[in-house]
Symmetry: C2
Subunit: 233 residues, 2 copies
Amino acid sequence: MQSSGIVKYMTNQHYGQFCGLARAAEIIGQRWTLLILRDLSVWPRRYSDLTTGLPGIPTNTLASRLKELEDEGLVARTLPSGADRSVVYALTPRGEELGPALDALSRWGAGGMRMPREGEIVTTASITAALRVAAGERIVPQDWNTTYSVHVGDVEVHVLMRDGTITVDPGAAENADLIITAGPQIRDLLAGELDAQTAITTGAVHLEGDESLFGRFADTLRVPYSPHVHATS
Amino acid sequence: MQSSGIVKYMTNQHYGQFCGLARAAEIIGQRWTLLILRDLSVWPRRYSDLTTGLPGIPTNTLASRLKELEDEGLVARTLPSGADRSVVYALTPRGEELGPALDALSRWGAGGMRMPREGEIVTTASITAALRVAAGERIVPQDWNTTYSVHVGDVEVHVLMRDGTITVDPGAAENADLIITAGPQIRDLLAGELDAQTAITTGAVHLEGDESLFGRFADTLRVPYSPHVHATS
DNA sequence: CTGGATCCTCAACGATACTG
DNA sequence: CAGTATCGTTGAGGATCCAG
């Protein structure tokens, strides 16, 4: 069958199976692709934002991946327009549809993750994505009107509870009701392996502001980690 | 080897981020790993089963992946025992927990898949996995007691509706009520883009047995493909 | 400064042969 | 059957360079 070069595919490798998972693997199995998609899922980014948000990615690899993702229809390139002439990359609807799969992978990966390995860092996109997964589609009481500022390392994101919904976005909050400063142990809190009281008393988190608001933060932002075992018999 | 000696890399490459998705990507981003896990999720397999079920995989790659997956705790190796001295690989509970993520990726990949590319084949594991995803956790009426035999190419799987649940397994069925023979268009049927009547009249499927049972097959085995668009504003 | 392209090196992957 | 061994190929990593 490999009679040398009838079809020479450009960069992607194929598995030769007519299978949804195989097709997905051909795209997201490329090195760095999942993390690029995660960064773009948080908010649209420029090329240089991606290089700084993905420390260690070679510039040629990033360029290749963006081109491939554009060809696959997952990412759209917004050409320079008007005053700001920066190229902006954003997910297309087809790219957004990967959301549930990325969330499921995040949950699974977080389930096997306790302490950071040496040299591992937290990025704005990673903590934003993690908190969004933890918030899920959860509904909260309508009268909760709270702004949290969350600091992990030198990264800052904010969590808003408004009109019954939760939103998580990168960057500083205006007039936070409670500032939460934590280290990697925030993962244990989200995983439900560390309760709010213990987190405070052990110093895993440091609070500044209305500390009574921490309980609902810890109770609401939870990774819904359900083992989901296939019944085989 | 690495005389620079800052960090030791065994085989896996790391992204250097304390992030669930990054951890997941380090494992399932390896070439062939997702398909190996899919095959094992269908049922435990021997080494040679995997080589035949994954046409094109280099034997050394398969050996490496199995070793890595064993080290990561996703796959367990059952050593030769008693009469049958074959090594059997199976998913561990931790490996099974990847199920929802694999399903989500399958759905997404299937959503962008219409016709097979040249040379793409259907394997027993791929069609079994696809039908299981299509069945989901769906409940059917208790009084449905039906056995389907599904043929796609030279692959045969069977679908049982019993006691309100649906099970899909590889291989031949005993006393099938309906034998369904189809080509790749079965994907359109599962995706809901081809209704039962049209599938029959256009010859996309060929039925043998109680044809009245085909309607419930087409209605029940559906890929629950929900776009799930993130509200960004 | 942004947004890449180019060049080189080496580890990972792929194909085939071979072995306990 | 269940893998190693060997060797060629390819893609990723890293540094630098270049055009707008």
